[in-house]
């Protein structure tokens, strides 16, 4: 599945770990919340990076104790109309100070690119066939935002009111 970051399609160095797999010492892996909680020490000791994928019904408070060891949090969009992960992302950025990579997974539309970036997502797993051009055009289609404090820390908008 193609991954877009900073307006480009990039190689995905991350691998989603199956539940049955052991946590490897090396390589960037994404684990489940369950794994994260049960293997805290092992994860803290890893040389390479660890990420977690959480469901959109999870409360980010569950990640609080682990944030120091997390380089990536993947948030889920089971349908593009299900907007819970926008609020999860917002909380992680502003209330928990998470500065690692926030990744959007699942069903997102190119037309949501702007919103996703504003709440703090920086990478997007897109379905095959979505063109990078349209994705970037969409992300840039609105350069203004009325909401203060929603620039995603990236100054993607020319200015906010």
């Amino acid at each position: 599945m193609p991954l877009i970051r900073n307006g480009e399609i990039v190689a995905d160095t991350w691998r989603v770990l199956e539940e049955v797999e052991d946590i490897p010492a090396e390589g960037d892996v994404i684990v489940s919340l369950e794994r994260l909680k049960n293997s805290t020490k092992q994860i803290a000791a890893r040389a390479d990076r660890t990420g977690v994928a959480i469901e959109n019904s999870a409360d980010p408070v569950e990640l609080e104790a682990h944030l120091a060891h997390l380089d990536l949090i993947a948030l889920e969009f089971p349908a593009f109309t299900d907007g819970r992960a926008y609020s999860q992302a917002r909380r992680l950025r502003t209330q928990y100070g998470f500065t690692g990579e926030l990744r959007a997974r699942g069903n997102v539309l190119v037309d949501q690119a702007g919103f996703l970036k504003q709440v703090g997502f920086d990478s997007f797993e897109v379905t095959d066939g979505q063109s990078l051009e349209i994705w970037n055009a969409s992300a840039r289609s609105m350069t203004l935002t009325y909401q203060r404090g929603y620039d995603g820390g990236q100054a993607i908008r020319e200015f906010a009111r």
């Binding site: 593009f80 109309t81 299900d82 907007g83 819970r84 926008y86 609020s87 999860q88 917002r90 909380r91 502003t94 209330q95 539309l109 037309d111 949501q112 702007g114 919103f115 996703l116 504003q118 709440v119 349209i134 055009a137 969409s138 289609s141 609105m142 350069t143 203004l144 935002t145 009325y146 909401q147 203060r148 404090g149 929603y150 009111r161």
Partner: protein, 551 residues
């Protein structure tokens, strides 16, 4: 009133361009209908029974004559010469073509209007008291706050894919003309013990199949804390509102399930840790917005106009119109003129392009260029000098706009119903027409007095039937329309939900039943009490007995 600056203008134009691109992608097949639907809905475009329908926002119900003329132009150029004013202070066009919609939006942008978020599971057009800024009973003009909320809610990155639609209403008056407790969030400006003006906050009201009155979640909130507090409510709702069943997805269900106390506690917890300094608008921005709503330069006039008194004596029709349609203004020598869009036998809330242009001209001449849309589907000229009332009334009469029935039995709210709406189960408009003809004799309806009849063509309750003194809900059974009657609803400061009186009625028998209810009230009322007062005193039984004995 508010004027766009370069920021607002650019924002709306970018949005038009964005939607133009989306329409192109839909037409050439890059977007499927499933993908396009939420995008078009967020731009106010529905696909109804017979055609597309475009819903244009009139933010907090305020517009000027240039905007009204543009609405008339759009009706003539892209539609069939008329528009429908709705209970949410919007106007709907019933026949636009998909490829024309970006052009329509561009025309709207020219007069600082848009259709952003008039549909979809997002924060809808913020509504306000239609007498805001001019009402005699107001603590503060709510419109600067409504404008602030319009801006804040426009393409909000976090709250554009909510579990369900979200409606906010605001008033600054003691009398509630905005039905705030029937909204997802209702706001009332009021003074606290120290005399400071802030917001009383209600959350979790709504109509639909589960009508609920919003409980109070905050007795008083400082004005500058409004946006952070709203974000706290929205975030709790966005994360915890149900998404498994669209009939249980509104915030009222969450508030009800948690209980008002627990819901409030969750909101307060979120509010305590919210990033308030980054969300609050800057003081100078608040001042900039507020300056647009400074009271206009009213002429220094005596409270009573001697010429008016003479006219009132001589012209019975004029006097009747003034009595029903002109309301108290805060400035001496001025009145608030309510223009009825409820001609006897007409379609509630519809106006022709000719009428729109006439109202625009009259607003320019007589109302300091200002017009309002009321949630009761009427128009308002908010700033009319009493000395001009007679001339205005005569001009309104020339355009069939002088019906003296504001607040009377023929001033009926009705949704478009199954004549237009894809969701409707029965027709509303012919029912409204029939009742209005039956009860609309001028002397008779004056004798009946204050009476709110509200008709919805389905359980979604766009016609506000739950809040009707007499509410009518259209349903369908085995290929026949039938109508359920509720009594005792009210959307004002003593809000209540109407109660079903019994089995429904066929379209043929419904008007008789309504008339029987009205006659029963006339027979039992005491000391000039209104229908609602009488109903609250005697309860439903006398009405049930009368209706089901004779039908």
């Amino acid at each position: 009133m508010y004027r766009y600056d370069e920021f607002d203008a650019t924002f709306v134009r970018q949005r038009v361009d964005q939607f133009r691109g989306q329409v192109e992608r839909r037409v050439n097949g890059e977007l499927s209908e499933e993908e396009f639907r939420p995008l078009r809905l967020m731009n106010g475009l529905y696909l109804q029974l017979h055609a597309y329908m475009l819903r244009v926002a009139v933010p907090y119900g305020t517009l000027n004559s240039a905007q009204m003329r543009k609405l008339a132009f759009i009706a003539d150029t892209y539609d069939r010469g008329y528009g429908h004013f709705t209970t949410r202070q919007n106007i709907q066009y019933n026949w636009p073509r998909l490829p024309d919609v970006p052009d329509i939006l561009e025309h709207l942008a020219e007069v600082e209007m848009h259709a952003i978020q008039t549909s979809g599971n997002c924060i809808r057009n913020v509504t306000a008291d239609h007498w805001a800024g001019v009402a005699a009973d107001e603590a503060e003009d709510p419109r600067p706050h409504a404008e602030l909320m319009r801006q804040w809610s426009s393409l909000h990155p976090e709250f554009s894919f909510l579990p369900r639609k979200f409606k906010i209403a605001v008033t600054g008056a003691s009398a509630d003309r905005a039905a705030i407790r029937y909204h997802d969030i209702g706001l009332r400006l009021k003074k606290n013990g120290q005399g400071e003006v802030g917001f009383e906050v209600f959350a979790g009201g709504g109509m639909g199949r589960t009508p609920m009155l919003a409980p109070r979640v905050r007795d008083w909130l400082a004005k500058e804390d409004l946006l952070p507090y709203l974000e706290a409510i929205m975030r709790v709702y966005n994360l915890h509102g149900r998404r498994d069943n669209k009939y249980k997805a509104r915030i009222k269900i969450l508030v009800h399930a948690l209980g008002a106390e627990e819901f409030t506690a969750q909101v307060e917890r979120e509010y305590a840790r919210i990033d308030a300094p980054h969300i609050e608008p800057e003081q100078q921005e608040l001042k900039r917005i507020a300056a647009y709503f400074a009271p206009p330069d009213y002429d220094a006039l005596p409270g009573d106009d001697p010429a008016l008194a003479l006219r009132l004596e001589k012209h019975e029709d004029f006097a009747g119109w003034v009595e029903r349609n002109v309301s108290a203004h805060r400035a001496p020598g001025y009145g608030i003129v309510n223009i009825s869009l409820k001609p006897i036998g007409g379609i509630p809330g519809d106006a022709s392009s000719d009428q729109m242009r006439a109202v625009a001209d009259l607003a320019e001449t007589f109302s300091l260029d200002e017009i309002r849309i009321s949630h009761e589907q009427n128009l308002v000229l908010p700033n009319v000098a009493k000395r001009d009332l007679f001339a205005l009334w005569q001009s309104l009469g020339e355009h069939s706009l002088a019906d003296a029935n504001i607040g009377l039995a023929s001033d009926i709210i009705a949704c478009p119903g199954l004549d237009y709406c894809g969701l409707a189960t029965a027709r509303s408009i012919p029912i409204a027409q029939d009742i209005s003809r039956r009860l609309g004799d001028p002397a008779r309806q004056r004798e009946i007095g204050d009476m709110k009849i509200k008709i919805s063509g389905c359980i979604n309750a766009c016609g506000h039937h739950h809040a009707g003194h007499i509410g009518i809900l259209g349903l369908e059974k085995r290929g026949e329309e039938y109508y359920q009657i509720t009594l005792g609803g009210s959307g004002d400061e003593r809000a209540s939900v109407g109660e079903i009186i019994g089995p429904g009625f066929s379209a043929e028998n419904l008007t008789d039943a309504v008339e029987t209810i009205v006659d029963t009230y006339m027979g039992l009322r005491e000391n000039g009490e209104t229908f609602l007062e009488a109903y609250r005193r005697v309860g439903p039984d006398p009405f049930k007995e009368a209706v089901y004995a004779t039908h």
